[in-house]
């Protein structure tokens, strides 16, 4: 177990480094800079601004500065020619740097304010969509070939197929205007979170339903389930005791990466429901050429995916003892 986690930690560091490096250089290969606007800055001013954020440095130096931990600018350590007032900076010193778009804020402040919001919304979306999807999937698998099955499958496909901005618009129209029980947008109270959580969770529920249905069917066809049936166990008992466990495997595998996406927020949902989460930074950081903010959200996302994938592996090991014994071997 320790060995497993240690190896994963090493892989994580390596992955993160690759992600940081690739996105750092890719981002700067794209045309346009953070200070471009319809109203042109005078050249001297733009130079000054670029200098303020060290964008005038050669790329390798900017990269080293971003990685840290040594501060290479005028405030860096004295042996590097600085005045020594601020020796440590960059990622390795835990500093994501200042945002180039939100000039009053650092990337850490922005992430600190927006990440809990996205996490909250993501948790609520997952909290309803996982059990709902599972329930539908089980129902569908048990009643295979019936109308219920058909209805569930159609519903699940619709949940996947309808773009979430259409679904969100529809929800707002129905629950905020036709039958005004919920606010159309905003953030702060539970009532604000109902519609976004519904819209955000719908595709997840649909995927879970599909995956659990096929997983369960697969499991129900296995010989050991037939064996259990032959032992005289009731269909429900077979399902709950044996098949569910195996049928959950693909669901769990899907949920890992999906949860990372859900938890870091969805641009579409945030935009439509006016939720100040991280999802919008993800896209806007890139579009605004807010290099530091875009890197910040990328790093958070990568870490989250990696962490959740480890959890998935652990969960799968718990669900299927064969994997666990292999890991141990």
């Amino acid at each position: 177990m320790t060995w497993f986690l240690l190896r994963r930690a090493l892989a994580f560091t390596l992955t993160l480094w690759v992600v940081v490096s690739v996105s750092f250089f890719l981002m700067r290969a794209v045309k346009g800079g953070p200070f471009d606007s319809e109203r042109e800055l005078p050249p001297a001013i733009e130079l000054a601004l670029r200098a303020q954020y060290h964008l005038d440095w050669p790329l390798w130096k900017q990269y080293l500065q971003y990685l840290g931990p040594l501060n290479l600018d005028a405030h860096g350590p004295t042996w590097l020619g600085g005045d020594g007032s601020n020796c440590l900076t960059g990622l390795l010193a835990g500093d994501f740097g200042p945002s180039l778009r939100y000039r009053d804020l650092s990337v850490s402040e922005i992430l600190g304010a927006s990440l809990p919001i996205s996490l909250a919304l993501g948790c609520l979306a997952l909290a309803w969509s996982m059990p709902a999807g599972l329930l539908l999937g089980c129902l569908s698998a048990l009643r295979r070939g019936t109308r219920t099955d058909g209805a569930v499958r159609a519903l699940a496909t619709l949940g996947i197929a309808v773009p979430n901005f259409v679904l969100a618009g529809l929800l707002v129209l129905v629950f905020a205007f036709a039958w005004p029980v919920l606010p159309p947008a905003g953030y702060g109270e539970l009532r604000h979170l109902v519609l976004p959580a519904l819209a955000l969770g719908a595709p997840v529920a649909a995927y879970v339903a599909r995956l659990s249905r096929s997983g369960l069917l697969e499991a129900l066809a296995q010989e050991w389930v037939r064996c259990a049936r032959a032992k005289g166990l009731s269909e429900r008992a077979v399902l709950l005791r044996h098949a569910l466990r195996a049928g959950l495997m693909p669901v769990v595998a899907y949920l890992g990466p999906a949860a990372a996406g859900i938890l870091t927020g969805s641009l579409v949902i945030e935009k439509i429901f006016a939720i100040p989460g991280t999802g919008s930074h993800f896209v806007n950081g890139a579009l605004n050429r807010d290099y530091t903010l875009a890197m910040g959200v990328t790093i958070v996302y990568t870490a989250l995916v990696f962490g959740l994938n480890v959890l998935v592996d652990l969960a799968q090991a718990a669900l299927d003892p064969r994997i666990a014994s292999r890991e141990r071997a």
């Binding site: 058909g150 773009p163 259409v166």
Partner: protein, 339 residues
């Protein structure tokens, strides 16, 4: 492996599945309609009419059609399209349908836009899916066949790639391409959008490569490979001629499931303004426009409903077909008799 046996069996099983069969026909129909969009007596998808706001659908009973068609020159029709347009002119003259599905805010016919948009959506999804299929098959096949340390390394690389936020990369590649569009078109004759979907496909192969690798691995241990080695077949030959064709059915299933996700992703990009560019349209960009039409002041519901419906139907059909295909190709002989 090259014997038609399993495919024939699968086709027979497919035919027994009524839903799958309907789906297949529906897909074929949609594909054909999109391909022949210039031939159909529909309106021009880009011709604006002098209207103040989106016009509601007109029942075919009330207004079936009338003259007035103009060819959509701005869409830069290919030679094939021109031939179809000429055929259309010969067949129908300038007769065109009424606004059966309504129009958008500029008076452009939604039905025509859906038909033409299906072209873009389907071809984009196909491009991306085929690219991912090619890469996934090759990578997964190599990894599985090589085995050992190479396999381990290649699979860890997939792990690493999987935790990269690839939306982010697609945005950047999209902006990169958007910045070099003129160079690409003039110097290399490349279409920015086709290239963009190749790129999307090029980042979509990760899960496929895992599946393929697993299959190839289990096949490699089998007797066939050993026998072929004894007969003196080269590694490349074994992999390309025998192993990859064997996992192809699986890959086809995967393809049926990838196309929907690419289409959805395209709609998301359109929502961001990074997707298909005007004057061309796709179901995704139509749906994105339609999202704005859902509001309490005046809901042009048809602008949201019909594109969503089109996507929904095709995706449903693809899913049903994909599921049935998987059941039909299942070597363990899955299928209805289990239920």
């Amino acid at each position: 492996m090259s014997s038609p046996g399993p495919w024939k069996q699968a086709a027979a099983r497919l035919r027994a599945n009524r839903l799958a069969w309907i789906s297949a026909w529906l897909l074929a129909l949609v594909g054909l309609l999109s391909l022949c969009a210039p031939l159909l007596p529909i309106r021009s998808p880009i011709e604006a009419r002098d209207v103040r706001e989106a016009q509601a659908p007109v029942s075919p009973l009330a207004h079936f059609g009338g003259p007035g068609f103009t060819a959509p020159e701005l869409l830069e029709p290919s030679r094939f399209d021109r031939a179809l347009l000429a055929a259309r002119a010969a067949l129908f003259g300038d007769w065109q349908t009424g606004a059966w599905l309504g129009t958008d805010a500029r008076g452009r016919d939604l039905l025509a836009r859906l038909v033409w948009g299906g072209r873009t959506s389907l071809s984009a999804a196909l491009i991306a899916a085929l690219t991912s299929l090619a890469i996934g098959l090759l990578y997964g096949g190599l990894s599985g066949y090589a085995g050992g340390r190479v396999d381990e390394l290649m699979m860890r690389a997939v792990d690493a790639l999987q935790s990269i936020p690839f939306l982010f990369f697609v945005i950047f590649v999209g902006t990169l391409l958007s910045g070099w569009r003129t160079e690409l078109a003039d110097r290399y004759g490349l279409d920015r959008e086709a290239l963009f979907f190749v790129v999307i496909g090029a980042v979509w192969w990760l899960s496929l490569s895992r599946i393929v690798r697993g299959q190839v691995r289990s096949l490699r241990e089998g007797e066939l490979v050993a026998a072929l080695r004894v007969l003196g077949a080269s590694h490349a030959r074994i992999l390309l001629r025998h192993l990859l064709p064997a996992v192809l059915p699986l890959a086809v299933v995967y393809l049926a499931l990838t196309i929907p996700s690419v289409m959805l992703f395209e709609s998301f990009l359109s929502f961001l303004g990074l997707g298909i560019e005007a004057p061309r349209m796709s179901w995704g960009s139509l749906a994105a426009d339609g999202a704005e039409a859902l509001n309490p002041v005046r809901s042009a519901w048809w602008l949201a409903l019909f594109p969503a419906l089109a996507m929904g139907l095709v995706l449903l059909a693809l899913n049903l077909f994909g599921d049935a295909l998987r059941d039909a190709l299942d070597p363990r002989g899955g299928g209805e008799e289990r239920a």
